[in-house]
């Protein structure tokens, strides 16, 4: 068995030699090769079936859903008419579209900007080992360990207009209380604050581990040349962390684009649609009322996938340029 496996895995590369060998050997030499191919396919089958059942088919169904006009009746009898891009056109023309796009962009970009810069600052800070630094660093991981339901509920209690601790602190300091979750101007800011708090530990951990791969020799050499801390950061740390930063930001982007639970628990995308992002909008269309609007919901979901894909391609491009 092992022998056939090896033949299979190196097959194509050794075609020349294998041909020589089969010429030298009597006819039975061909058979193990074909059997090997079958074995190879058999080994491949589990992962292929897995990919198809759990990835390819759902994606195909989602696409199909968004290109047909599904109502509850046609969902049951399976006779939904094919309408090309009518659902997408309807989504683009919906009065919720532009506000939701703006909210999604603001939510994602502002979250990433703050999560990354705060995470970077903390990583650099904790990289200078000092007493209790490990303990403090562990404490910063708490938001990451909590279930999102717990963090979001805690934030929505803290930001409650009338009985929240944040407004209590503000009025103690003589500042007018703010209707964090219930005013159209502040709702998005509130969910942003909560999301930044939740995302900082991820950035901290990845960037901190990236810092450990930078050789201390470089810093020592810089010190000898008389570089100050600021110069060391911008001339050594930041450029050498670029690959790590790129993957951190990409993962953050993909993750933040589809954030749903925090917003849903804190504001339900409201008041009105002032904190509605694409993820919230898609859910509202599909499951928000007693009458599911599945086709437009799938269209919005597909738009999210396309946006994430674009960022993924940009990343691959940037990475290739780095390698060259």
């Amino acid at each position: 068995m092992t022998a056939t496996q090896i033949t299979a895995s190196t097959g194509t590369g050794d075609t020349g030699r294998a041909a020589e060998r089969s010429a030298a050997l009597p006819t039975p030499g061909r058979r193990p090769r074909r059997r090997g191919q079958w074995a190879a396919w058999a080994f491949l089958a589990p992962v292929v079936v897995y990919l198809v059942v759990f990835y390819a088919y759902p994606l195909y169904r989602n696409l199909d859903l968004s290109l047909r006009d599904y109502t509850v009746r046609s969902f049951i009898d399976g006779n939904a008419p094919f309408v090309w891009f009518a659902n997408y056109v309807a989504v683009f023309q919906d009065p919720t579209f532009w506000p939701a796009l703006a909210n999604t962009a603001t939510f994602t970009l502002v979250s990433i900007a703050f999560q990354y810069s705060i995470g970077m600052a903390l990583a650099v800070f904790f990289f200078q080992r000092f007493p209790l630094s490990a303990t403090l660093r562990a404490l910063f991981l708490v938001p990451w360990l909590l279930p999102l339901l717990v963090s979001a509920s805690a934030w929505s209690w803290m930001l409650n207009s009338d009985s929240g601790v944040v407004n209590a602190a503000l009025s103690a300091a003589g500042i007018e209380p703010v209707n964090w979750l219930t005013s159209p101007q502040w709702a998005l800011v509130s969910v942003l604050i909560a999301n930044i708090w939740i995302g900082v530990p991820f950035n901290l951990v990845i960037l901190y581990s990236g810092l450990q791969n930078i050789s201390t020799d470089i810093y020592e050499a810089a010190s000898i040349d008389g570089a100050n801390a600021w110069q060391k950061f911008w001339r050594i740390t930041f450029p050498l962390l670029r690959p790590v930063s790129a993957i951190t930001i990409l993962l953050g982007l993909v993750y933040t684009l589809k954030v749903f639970d925090i917003i849903w628990i804190m504001t339900r995308g409201g008041p009105g649609s002032s904190s509605t992002t694409f993820a919230i909008w898609s859910y509202r269309l599909g499951f928000g009322s007693a009458l599911p609007d599945l086709s437009p919901a799938a269209a919005v979901g597909n738009l999210l996938i396309v946006i994430a894909l674009v960022f993924g391609l940009i990343y691959i491009r940037a990475q290739r340029r780095l390698e060259v």
Binding site: V72, N160, G270, G272, S273
Partner: protein, 416 residues
């Protein structure tokens, strides 16, 4: 070299993938309308309900078993989360393996009727003659009835007697909106908080707003009528004047109730399901007043027993027997008492009232209540409701005036 190997393999995988997708897609098309539960072993009937909190040893499960035994069959019961059950029922309908009996939240009945997966009473033989018409309304579509209510709950106005008496308010003086307003004003003047409710941007928000909307004389087919504007204006003024906390915009009915439980509030709009806790805390209850006096129609809540479409129509007779047993006065009173429901037939209501006289305001409120999907609105209701809660939110936050918010809502609702 190695990359070329990876590429060939990837191509192979893709090819297999493409074939498999085609096969699967074919299957799902042909598979619909498959065998399903009709082939289940003879004498076993499936029953889905939204009460996962009750296990096999609960009174609810026992009464089902008893009714099944009376009909000479056994019942296999599954409890689902309420929010999950509609989509589960739709999926089961698509796969052709619907349960024999489905107990489902009343606004979802018209959705299932629209989907064509539940049977009408003239087809399945269920008797609904005794049920109060206003409660039954949720399951009536185009003159046909599609289910039997297990019971009903609704909204009323709870008040805190100690807060009211300290403010010098006599609860019996509250008859209409203006007397309610002056009562709230007195409560606020005494240093307490006025009223709390749930104005969240979901179905819950519409559910809580409807008593005021209907109480003003407005109609769901005309969201921007002057009566509708006056109802939104009432809520908006309460928030603007600080009579209601700003948090109502984001309150669910549960968080609103928690606010009321602080003991700082004079009034709270909430449902039948809080009555046990309210009685313990010494809170009392009155029907929600209409704008010009009398009890405002509040929306009904509660579940309906429906019989989903089966391949073997002979099963309906047994299913009907089980449902009629479950909704018979002898059985339904105990069930409704455990579920905190008011019974749906006048006879069972009398039996409930004889056992517990404090139910009187609730029976009055349920008597005045209206089904949300009634008036033959059916599946138009969810669309209208979404626009209504959005308009209420936009007005409460001050983003739009009540007139503008409702005008936009009416436009959006009629364009869909």
């Amino acid at each position: 070299m190695s990359t070329s190997i990876t590429r060939t393999r990837a191509l192979g995988a893709l090819a297999i993938g493409a074939v498999a997708v085609g096969v699967l897609a074919g299957c799902s098309g042909g598979g619909a309308g498959g065998s399903g539960s009709t082939d289940a072993t003879g004498g076993t009937y499936t029953f889905w309900d939204p009460y996962p909190q009750y296990d096999a040893s609960s009174d609810w499960a026992k009464v089902i078993d008893k009714c099944a035994a009376d009909a000479g069959v056994t019942v296999e019961r599954t409890g689902f989360d309420t929010s999950d059950l509609t989509s589960k029922a739709l999926l089961a309908g698509q796969q052709g393996d619907s349960p024999d009996i489905l107990l489902i939240d009343n606004p979802a009945v018209s959705t299932l009727v629209e989907a064509g997966i539940v049977t009408a009473t003239d087809e399945n033989g269920l008797q609904v003659g005794d049920v109060a018409e206003n409660i039954l309304g949720a399951s009536v579509v185009d003159g046909k009835t599609y289910g039997v209510p297990i019971g009903a709950n609704t909204l009323a106005l709870y008040y805190n007697p100690s807060v009211l008496s300290a403010a010098g308010v006599d609860p019996s003086s509250i008859k209409d909106w203006s007397s309610l307003n002056s009562a709230i004003e007195k409560v606020v003047a005494s240093g307490k908080k006025g009223i709390t409710f749930s104005g969240i941007g979901t179905e819950e928000g519409s559910f809580q707003f409807l008593p005021w909307f209907w109480g003003a004389g407005a109609d769901l087919t005309q969201l921007d009528s002057s009566q509708a504007v006056s109802a939104v204006q009432l809520w908006t003024d309460w928030v603007k004047k600080g009579w209601a906390p700003n948090s109502v915009i984001n309150n669910t009915q549960t968080t609103s109730w928690q606010e009321f439980q602080t003991g700082d509030f004079g009034f709270a709009e909430n449902g039948t399901w809080q009555k046990a806790g309210a009685a313990k805390a010494g809170y009392e209850v009155m029907p929600i007043p209409a704008a010009k006096g009398g009890a405002a129609p509040a929306p009904t809540g509660g579940e309906f027993l429906t019989l989903p479409v089966q391949k073997d129509s002979a099963r309906y007779a047994t299913s009907s027997k089980i449902v009629e047993c479950l909704t018979s006065t002898a059985n339904v009173v105990d069930t409704d008492n455990t579920l905190n429901y008011i019974a749906a037939t006048p006879e069972a209501q009398k039996a409930q009232l004889a056992k517990d006289p404090t139910l009187e305001p609730w029976i009055e409120a349920v008597g005045a209540a209206k089904a949300r999907t009634g008036d033959n609105l059916g599946v138009k209701y969810p669309v209208i409701s979404e626009q209504l809660w959005t308009a209420v939110q936009n007005s409460l936050t001050g983003a739009q005036s009540p007139q503008d918010a409702l005008k936009a809502a009416q436009q959006a609702a009629s364009s869909k």
